[in-house]
C-alpha cells in the first residue's frame, strides 16, 4: 500500500478524541491492493446526462483526473479541468483557491498537499446560465483506487446558477475519495447546489464542502445519499456579509452495514442572515448514521434566524443513529431552534393505509417516500426532482444498484413497479 494511503488510514488515530471527526473511520475501506490513480486512466467515458429535459455544461472527473480542456461559453462561463485552469487562467483560480473559509483539519490538509485534479468553474458577475452546471466524479477504473479531487467554484456577484454534483461508482471496485469542493459566492449570488451520491458498498467518500457567501447571497443545497459503504459529508458554510440565506438539506437512505456521517457547520458572522438545515434519514439492516449539526451565531450577528433539524426512521433493531444538533449563540437578538428525532414507521398510519386495501409493502414505501419527499421537494430543478423521486422509490424497493452508469443516467432498472404513484397532484 502506498505510504500516502497508509497515512490517510492512520488519521483516525489522531482524531479519535476529536468531537467532529471521531465517528468516522475510513481505515476499514482501505485495502492492500489500493493504489493512487494514474493520470492516463480514463478519459474514454463519454457522457451526456440522460435525465429527461436536463441539458448541462458537464465536467467529468474520472478516477481523480479531469480530461476536459478548459471551455469558455458565450456567456463567459469558464469550466473544465482544475489543472488546466491553473495553467491557463491562474487569475480566475486565485479567486477561489485559498480564499475559501472553513476550518483546518488533517484530511483537508492531505487533499491540499496531494490532490490530483478536479473541476474548476467560473461564473462571471450577473450571469444567469441557461443550463445547469454539472460535476460528475466517477470511479471507472478496474482497480482499487485512492483518489483526491479538488473542485473550485467561483460565482460572481449577482449570478444565479444551478449546480448538479454527482459521485458515482460504475463498478464494484473499492474506492476511497477524499474530495474537497470550495465555493465562493459573490454578493447577491444565488446558487442551487444539488449533491447526489451513489457509490458501491465497498467504497468510501469523504466529501468536504466549504462555501463562503458574500452579503445577500443565497445558497440552496440539497444532498442526497442513495448508497455508499462509508460516507462522510463535511460541510462548512460561512456567511461573510449581511442578509445571506442558507438552506442546507440532506437525505440519506442506507442499509446493510453502510455508514453515513453528516456534519454541517453554519457560521453566522453578520446581522440579518437566515439559515436552515433539515437532514432526514432512513436506516435499514445494520446501517449506522451520524448527524452533527453546529450553528455558530457570532457576537455581531444580530437578527439571526437559524433552524436545524434531524429526523430519522430506523427500520430494524440493529440500525443505529447518533444525532447531535448544536447551537452556539453569542448574540441576544436571535431566533434559533434545533431538534432531532429517531423513530419507527407509524403503526397507526400503516393500519390506515392498509385498511384501504394497500399492501404492506406499498404502504411502507408510500410512508417512507412521504418522509423523503420533504427534502426532495426542495429541489427546484423539476426534471431532477422527478428523476430523484423515481430513484428514491427504486431505492426503497431495493431495486437500485450500482451499475455501469451514473445513477441519474441509468435506465437499466427503471421498470419501477410502483406506477401507482405517478400522478402529479399539483396538476389537479
Amino acid at each position: 500500500m502506498d505510504e500516502l494511503i497508509q497515512q490517510f488510514g492512520q488519521l483516525r488515530q489522531q482524531l479519535k478524541k476529536n468531537e467532529v471527526w471521531r465517528n468516522v473511520d475510513f481505515g476499514t475501506v482501505l485495502t492492500d491492493s489500493m493504489r493512487l490513480p494514474h493520470a492516463d486512466e480514463g478519459g474514454k467515458y463519454s457522457f451526456h446526462c440522460r435525465v429527461p429535459n436536463i441539458d448541462s455544461y458537464c465536467v467529468i472527473t474520472e478516477n481523480g483526473y479531469c480530461h476536459q480542456s478548459l471551455m469558455e461559453t458565450s456567456e463567459g462561463i469558464v469550466y473544465g479541468s482544475l489543472r488546466a485552469a491553473k495553467e491557463q487562467r491562474a487569475d480566475l483560480v486565485a479567486l477561489v483557491m485559498g480564499r475559501g473559509s472553513g476550518s483546518d483539519n488533517p484530511y483537508r490538509r492531505m487533499n491540499d498537499a496531494g490532490y490530483s485534479d478536479g473541476v474548476f468553474i467560473y461564473v462571471p458577475q450577473g450571469c444567469h446560465p441557461a443550463k445547469p452546471l454539472q460535476l460528475l466524479s466517477l470511479h471507472t477504473a478496474e482497480a482499487s483506487l485512492f483518489m483526491q479531487c479538488r473542485n473550485a467554484i467561483y460565482l460572481g456577484d449577482g449570478s444565479d446558477v444551478t449546480i448538479i454534483h454527482c459521485d458515482d461508482s460504475t463498478n464494484q471496485h473499492t474506492g476511497m475519495s477524499n474530495n474537497v469542493t470550495e465555493m465562493v459566492m459573490g454578493s447577491n449570488a444565488v446558487a442551487d447546489y444539488y449533491k447526489l451520491q451513489n457509490i458501491n458498498d465497498n467504497s468510501g467518500l469523504l466529501n468536504h464542502t466549504y462555501v463562503t457567501l458574500a452579503a445577500g447571497a443565497h445558497l440552496l443545497s440539497v444532498g442526497i445519499t442513495l448508497n455508499g459503504g462509508t460516507i462522510r459529508n463535511h460541510s462548512e458554510v460561512s456567511m461573510m456579509g449581511e442578509g445571506c440565506d442558507v438552506e442546507a438539506d440532506g437525505l440519506y437512505i442506507n442499509d446493510h452495514i453502510q455508514q453515513v456521517d453528516n456534519y454541517i457547520y453554519v457560521d453566522h458572522l453578520h446581522p440579518s442572515c437566515h439559515s436552515r438545515a433539515l437532514y432526514k434519514g432512513i436506516l435499514d439492516d445494520a446501517a449506522h448514521a451520524t448527524f452533527n449539526g453546529h450553528v455558530m451565531v457570532r457576537e455581531g450577528a444580530a437578527k439571526t434566524e437559524a433552524y436545524q433539524t434531524n429526523r430519522n426512521i430506523l427500520l430494524t433493531d440493529k440500525a443505529t443513529v447518533a444525532t447531535k444538533p448544536f447551537l452556539e449563540i453569542y448574540n441576544d437578538d436571535v431566533k434559533c431552534s434545533h431538534g432531532s428525532s429517531i423513530g419507527q414507521i407509524d403503526d397507526d398510519a400503516m393500519f390506515y393505509l392498509r385498511s384501504r386495501g394497500i399492501s404492506e409493502k406499498s404502504a411502507r414505501t408510500l410512508l417512507l417516500y412521504a418522509f423523503c419527499d420533504e427534502v426532495v421537494g426542495r429541489i427546484r430543478l423539476e426534471p431532477l426532482r422527478q428523476r430523484l423521486s423515481d430513484l428514491i422509490k427504486q431505492r426503497l424497493h431495493g431495486e437500485l444498484v450500482v451499475c455501469a452508469e451514473c445513477a441519474l443516467a441509468c435506465n437499466s432498472h427503471c421498470g419501477c413497479s410502483d406506477s401507482e404513484f405517478t400522478i402529479d397532484p399539483t396538476l389537479l
Partner: protein
Amino acid sequence: MSLLSIRNLHAYIGEREILKGVNLDVERGEVHSIMGPNGNGKSTLAGVIAGNPKYTVTEGEVIYNGKNILDMPVDVRASEGIFLGFQYPVEIPGVSITNFMRTAVNEQRKYRGLDPLGAAEFLRLMEEKKKIVEMTTKLANRSVNEGFSGGEKKKNEIFQMAMLEPTLAILDETDSGLDIDALRIVASGVNQLRRPDNATIVITHYQRLLDYIVPDFVHILYEGRIVKTGPKELALRLEHEGYDWIRHEIDQQ
C-alpha cells in the same frame, strides 16, 4: 347466508379483554347501528372486523361473505370489500390524497383481477365522488388529513368510501366532531352509497345521526357483549333515558 356473521367473539388489547362474546348477523341491504357507553367495545369491534393488529382475537369467528376473515391481512379484507370509517382519521404528511386513493383503488382492482385505472379515468372518478360529500375545496391536493378540520376529516372518510365502493362499511363515530351541516352532508353521502347488495354498520352515541341514516336494527354493546337488539325506536329510548335501565335489566338477569 348472512353477509357478516360474528359468533362468540372474544378480543384483547394487551392483557385486557374488551370483547367478551359478541354475536352479530348483518344481511345485505341492511343498516345496523351499534350504540353503547364509552369503553364498552364498540371501536374494538370495528377494529377487529377491519383487522387492526393491535387487537388479539382469542375465541370465536367472523365470517364475511362466506369466508373466515380473522386470518386475512388488513389489506386483503379491504380488497374483499370491508371498509372502516375511522373515528380519528390518521394524518399522513407527504402522501397526497390523490396518490393514496389511486394506490388503494388500483391495488383493490388488482386483487379482483381488474386492470388499473388510467390517470384520466381516475381523475374523472375522483371528481364524481367528491360531489357525494360536497367537497368543493381542492381537498384532493393536500396530504392525507393533514391540517384538516374535524368536518373535513370525516367528509374525507366518506369520500374514500365512495371511491372504494365497499360491500360492508363500518362507520366508527362518523358523527363526532361534526356541525349540523357537515352531519347532514356526511349522512347524505352514506345514504347515496347504499345499495341492495351492501350493508352499513353505524357506530354512534347519538340518535341525531340516526335521523338521517335510518337503521334497520339498533344493538347495544355493553361490557363487551351485545346485550340488546331492537328496532330504530330503541335509539330514541336511549336518547331519553340513557343506559341505566339497560344496566338494571342486566343486573336482574
